[in-house]
Structures are given as C-alpha cells and as structure tokens.
C-alpha cells in the first residue's frame, strides 16, 4: 500500500482553507494524522470499480422538494444568548 505523506505546505494550505491557525507542533501532529487517514481511505482504490458508474449520492432518492410556502413556526423567535446586538444583528469583529 502506497503511503501518501502530505507536505508541510499542503498542511498549511489546508489549515488556511479550514480557517484553523495551527502551531508548528500541531502542523506536525495533524500532518501525520491526516496522512494516515488518507492512506487508510486509499485502500478503497483496490476495489475494481471499472463496471460501476459514478454517483454523487447513495440514497437513490431524487426530486425531494418542498412547496413554496412560509412556515413561520419553523423560524427562530428568540436569539437570546447568541451574540446579537440591541438591533438584533449578529456581530463579529470588523472584517474590513
């Protein structure tokens, strides 16, 4: 089984995409863990899929839709306890 090892650059790139700030030590730990996970998944490549057509889902469902109706009872009425200001806006640190 070929062992795929992710480079440090790849780990840093992935951590950025995942919005994680990792320490040097964590890059080391997560890097080797992620490589191991990838290698584990890679075992699937041993299965012969030449006669199987590709699919994006396995439920075999299709066209699951809702009618265009408002169901107010599903809306959240009270945002108390969440980070909202007096005007009911969520607030985050200014982004620009």
């Amino acid at each position: 089984m070929a062992k795929k090892t992710l480079t440090k650059e790849e780990i840093i790139h992935l951590s950025k995409l995942a919005n994680l700030s990792l320490t040097e030590e964590e890059i080391e730990i997560y890097g080797s863990q992620l490589s191991e996970i990838l290698s584990y998944i890679e075992q699937l490549e041993e299965v012969d899929t030449s006669k199987v057509s590709s699919t994006a889902q396995v439920t075999e469902l299709k066209n699951v839709t809702e009618e265009d109706e408002v169901k107010e009872e599903r809306s959240i009425k009270d945002l108390a306890g969440l980070k909202v200001n007096k005007d009911n806006y969520f607030t985050v640190k200014r982004i620009r």
Binding site: T59, T65, E67, D68, E69, S75, Y89
Partner: protein
C-alpha cells in the same frame, strides 16, 4: 500594426421572489424587515439541519433558462462551495457546480448603432444555475453586523459567454435581460434593492494586423472581474474605465493583474479589492443532503408552456399588428403592464368606435389607430393610470372628429370670422398670433367640446 479588442463576459445574479427561502420555509421577503427574524436552523447553518429545495424556485430557474433559449439538463444537482466569510453561516454556499439546471442558450435582439442603423445581435448564454443568497453585512465601527434574513433566498446566476466587445452592447443586453426577467414575473429585478446584481469581466485581446492584412489574435491571459454593480449605467462606465486602464498597462508592455475590482460610482473608477490571498479553492463537492434533480421531457415541456410572449417577440408583433413605429413598439414593450395596457386601450377604442356610425368618423392624422394610441401613451398625453376604457374615451375625444360635431364647428368658425373682422384682418396682414385668439373664440362658442388643433387647422385653411 496592432490594436486591442475588449473581451467581455457577464455574470448576473437575480433573486427570485418566492414566498419562502431556497432550502427552508422562512419568509424570503427580507427587505426592510427586522434583522434576523426570518431565520431557522437551516439558513443559520446549525448542525443537523436538513435543506430541502423549493420546488417553485427550481421551476422558475428552468423558466429563465427556457426564456434564454438554453437546453434544460435532465439531471442536475446541488454542490457545496466552501469559503469563510461572515455572510455565510455554514462555511459553504449551496450552489451548482458541474450540473447546472440550464446551459448553452442565447439571447438576440435589435440594436441600433451610432448611425442609428438597426442590426440584430446574438449573445450566447453559458449557463443558468440556482443557488442561495448570503446574509447582509454592515460594517460599523469595530464590528461587522450580520443580518441573515437574506441568507438562503433563492438566487439565480446567469453566465454569458465572453461575446461582448463594447459597453453599449452590454448595457443593451442587460436591459433586455432585465425586461425578460420582469416579464417572467419571477423576480422584482429591482436594482436598487439589490435583487439584480451585475458583474462584468473584462480583458483585452491583442489583434496584430500584418501588412498582408492577415490578423493574428492573441487570447488574453488574465481576466478582471468587477463585482456587484447595481446599475446598467455603472456597468457601462466600469467597462469603459477598465478598457482604458488595461490598454494603458498593456501598452507599457505589462499584463494587468488578474483580480476582482469594485466600482466607485462617484469617482467613476474601478479599484482593486483586497485580492484573495490565493486562487479560489472552493473545494466544490456534491451536496450530500440534497438528492439529485431529474426532469422528464414532459415536465420540462409543461414549464415551457408557461413562458409568456417575450419582449422582443411582442415588439415585433406590435409593429406588425398595429403598424407602430419601431421605437414606439420598443418603448411600449419595456414594461409588460404598459404593453398590455396599450392593447387593452386599442381594443376599447375599437369597441367604442363600433357603436359609432363608421361613416361619421374621421381620424385626423394619417396614421394607424394603434400609432395614435401609442403616441398618447409614449408622449404621456394621457395617463396610463386611467382605466383603459376611460383612456379610450379620452383618446377618442382628442383624436376623432365626428361629422355632426364638424358641422357645429364649421358654424362656430364662420360665426367667429364674422364677429371678429379685426382679428381676421390682423392674421391676414401677417400677425399669425391672432389665430390663437380666433381659436379661443371658437372653443368658447363650442364650450370646449372640440379639439383646438382641429379648429386651428380649419381656420388656417379658410383664412389662407
């Protein structure tokens, strides 16, 4: 010798006016509502929430695709597009990646050039897909405020091929598209409220013309996108600014940076927005929570039957059926309400005329009845807020003279000529203004029940 030719493509976002959101049942009517009152676990992206697509939004996207002559894909699916930004609570937007609802369409319409020659032009549509709108951000002090009422409102993205080479065609295309969307009744397409947003992408292609006349075209190796413009004029100005800016860079032998820019409508310039640190890496993958969409031929055809007569078809029909001038047919068809109103008034007019003795009717001007009505509407001589029958009645009073009325008018004219010999003399002596005095007297004699222009013509004819 060489020159630069603009290569322009467009991305247009249109918010659908469904009652509920794209993947949940909160009200999609967010404009002016208290922040974060139309939110639920689905559009807030809370763990475990399950998105279910809105059937009407899917149908309307198919309808837009059909209006733009696209092929509707029998199989379609949703994908997750990942990026981090506070307007996106889930960390990804549900969109469509490689299987959009509609693709490969076109839109064509008449366009007049600077010499006012009319030409039909055709622009290709690359794809039409369905996604969800994001939340609204307000930057305030050290905070960014987020309102998720808009988050999850159905949003259709229309992408054209890079078929444009000038800003006038772009503006005309966008206006036509806007009119079509309004005809379909699937969106308010209100630019000011942001329910239609425009993003042109612009680059310049170098064309070298050799002595032999042979042209060598080089494809541009960069693309500049101008984001979120909310007016057709701003798009035109942004494109013109970019063409100038990019030409200057290219003439220095440099290549414009591949980037996203904003448009400053006050200064009339585009500016570099903080460029994303790296190339987009959205890591699209199929949305596992939403099973694929499959449409039968019959379903697609049934939706197609709902397509109304589109503006350019209506324009052609009005010209033919009512013998209208092209520019008036164009103006009338820009607003479906006005186009319908025009046809209703014309119909009412005809009905009213039927009850009159046809022989006694004399339309003053040498033009079609339709053109007469069109003039009244286009020149705003009568208000289109009138009931069509009311409009038709008024139209008749101002454009039609009946023989019975004419006899009365002839008598009044003779009487006024006899009663005011001084004014008649003045007119004959060249004081043409005195005709208006005589017209006034005739009007008075007839208690206003006559068209002043008709009286004036009659007087001039007699006194000549």
């Amino acid at each position: 010798m060489y020159k630069y030719q603009p290569v322009i493509g467009l991305e247009i976002h249109v918010e659908l006016k469904t009652k509920s959101k794209m993947f949940c049942q909160d009200s999609a009517d967010y404009f002016g509502k208290k922040p974060n009152t139309h939110v639920c676990p689905v559009c807030l992206g809370l763990p475990g929430a399950l998105p279910v697509p809105n059937k009407k939004a899917i149908e309307w996207t198919i309808l837009i695709g059909q209006a733009l002559n696209c092929s509707i894909n029998k199989v379609s699916k949703f994908d997750r597009k990942h990026y981090f930004y506070p307007d996106l609570p889930k960390g990804y937007q549900i969109s469509q990646y490689d299987e959009p609802i509609a693709s490969n369409g076109w839109l064509k319409f008449q366009i007049s050039n600077f010499k006012f020659q009319i030409k039909e032009k055709k622009f290709r549509i690359h794809r039409v897909h369905l996604e969800e709108d994001t939340g609204k951000l307000i930057h305030s002090g050290s905070d960014t405020l987020v309102d998720f009422n808009r988050s999850g409102v159905p949003l259709v993205e229309i992408v054209t091929e890079p078929d444009f080479d000038n800003s006038d065609d772009v503006k005309r295309f966008l206006e036509e598209l806007h009119t079509i969307i309004r005809y379909l009744g699937v969106s308010d397409a209100d630019m000011e409220k942001g329910s239609m947003r425009l993003e042109p992408n612009i680059s310049l292609r170098k064309i070298s013309i050799q002595d032999s006349g042979f042209k060598i075209q080089e494809l541009p190796n960069y693309k500049v996108e101008v984001k979120n413009i909310n007016s057709f004029n701003f798009v035109k100005r942004a494109i013109e600014y970019e063409i100038k800016r990019q030409t200057e860079i290219l003439e220095k032998g440099e290549t414009p940076a591949q980037e996203t820019r904003g448009f400053d409508s006050v200064k009339g310039i585009t500016y570099s927005q903080r460029s994303k640190e790296e190339a987009h890496d959205y890591r699209y993958f199929p949305e596992p929570d939403i099973p694929p969409l499959e449409f039968t031929y019959k379903e697609i055809e049934d939706i197609k039957k709902k397509l109304p007569e589109l503006p350019s078809d209506k324009e052609k029909r009005l010209i033919k059926e009512y013998r209208l001038k092209a520019q008036d047919a164009f103006i009338l068809t820009r607003d479906l309400r006005i186009a319908d109103y025009f046809e209703k008034v014309t119909d009412e007019f005809n009905k009213l005329m039927l009850v009159q003795d046809k022989a006694s009717v004399d339309i003053e001007k040498q033009q079609s009845l339709g053109q007469t009505i069109a003039n009244l509407i286009v020149n705003k001589r009568l208000s289109t807020s009138l009931d069509p029958e009311e409009f038709a009645k008024k139209a008749i009073t101002s454009t039609v003279t009946y023989i019975a009325d004419r006899e009365k008018m002839d008598k009044a004219v003779s009487k006024v000529i006899d009663d005011f010999p001084k004014a008649v003399e003045d007119y004959k002596a060249g004081k043409t203004n005195s005709i208006m005095f005589l017209v006034g007297q005739v009007m008075k004699e007839m208690k206003g029940q006559v068209d002043a222009n008709t009286v004036k013509k009659k007087l001039i004819k007699i006194l000549k």
